[in-house]
């Protein structure tokens, strides 16, 4: 289902239970916030929803066979706010030591392929306006402003 690319020593595969702590650690490193409960919920959802995907880029280096170099998580959601079935990317992370090697691009392509198989014709994400790194990454994959605008209100 997923491709191997020996040039960069990575293997794309669906996340397994043993990957949970490694993904939590990598996400904490990349985002600066530990979200243990969130990732436990995501793993539970993988078991209950076929349209939910968590793909990891694993190392093919014999010295570190269990290392996770990157991850992407998302799922197909339908009819929220009138939206037709659409793939949603909730998070992406690549180890800072392995950036600019095309790993993020491969993860993005893999989740697009998975969501397409689940019936989605488009893929969507949400990014903080000041997060230039991720905004530039998603733009470089061909993503553009979509037909929805996110609105919010402080409840404090």
């Amino acid at each position: 289902m997923y491709s191997e690319d020996r040039k960069f020593d990575i293997k794309l595969r669906p996340a397994e239970v043993d990957d949970l702590q490694k993904i939590i650690d990598l996400d904490t490193l990349v985002s600066g916030i530990e979200k243990k409960t969130y990732w436990e919920d995501r793993f539970d959802r993988l078991k209950s929803a076929d349209s939910s995907h968590l793909i990891v880029a694993g190392s093919l280096d014999p010295k570190s066979p269990d290392e996770i170099l990157g991850f992407i998580v998302g799922e197909v959601r339908a009819w929220e706010f009138g939206s037709r079935p659409c793939g949603w990317i909730f998070a992406i992370g690549v180890s800072p030591d392995y950036r600019v090697r095309g790993i993020g691009e491969k993860l993005f392509d893999a989740i697009c392929e998975s969501c397409k198989k689940d019936g989605a014709n488009s893929i969507r994400t949400m990014i903080a306006r000041r997060d230039q790194l991720n905004m530039s990454f998603f733009r470089a994959q061909g993503m553009m402003g979509g037909p929805f605008i996110e609105l919010e209100k402080s409840l404090r």
Binding site: R129, M135, S136, R139, A140, G142
Partner: protein
């Protein structure tokens, strides 16, 4: 939103040259393609040269060549050479800004400015050129 003429010409020129960094084009060749004033474009190209985005190649058959990294330079970087978009709402104050309605309108203008800046700041020259190719392939 409306960009100033110099900004628009600067974007045309830098993207046209970044499309093929090995190619040299004169101000007249670029101006003819976009139907714009070659005199005005020559001034714009000098500004782009000072900013390190293009190199002037002298002599017969000379012209301009893209000299930067299209994967690093964003549309915002080019725009900032010619104008300061968004500064109207965030920097200087207009008459009436201190009133309740003025302040409420300022919040909206700042929201629009932030989205504009985030959009231009996240699109590199390479991304725009790549997007054009994808759109062409779809058609």
């Amino acid at each position: 939103m409306k960009l100033q003429k110099a900004t628009q010409f600067g974007l045309y020129a830098v993207l046209e040259l970044a499309r093929d960094p090995s190619r040299q084009l004169s101000a007249i060749e670029i101006a003819d393609k976009y139907g714009i004033s070659s005199n005005h474009l020559a001034k714009v190209l000098r500004d782009l040269g000072r900013a390190g985005l293009v190199d002037a190649v002298r002599g017969a058959g000379g012209g301009y060549r893209f000299s930067s990294n299209s994967k690093r330079v964003t549309l915002m970087d080019v725009i900032n050479i010619f104008e300061d978009i968004g500064s109207e709402a965030s920097g200087t104050s207009d008459l009436g800004d201190g009133t309740d309605i003025g302040r409420a309108l300022l919040v909206i203008r700042n929201e629009i400015d932030e989205i504009t800046q985030a959009t231009f700041g996240s699109i590199t020259l390479d991304t725009l050129l790549k997007t054009m190719r994808w759109q062409r392939d779809v058609i």
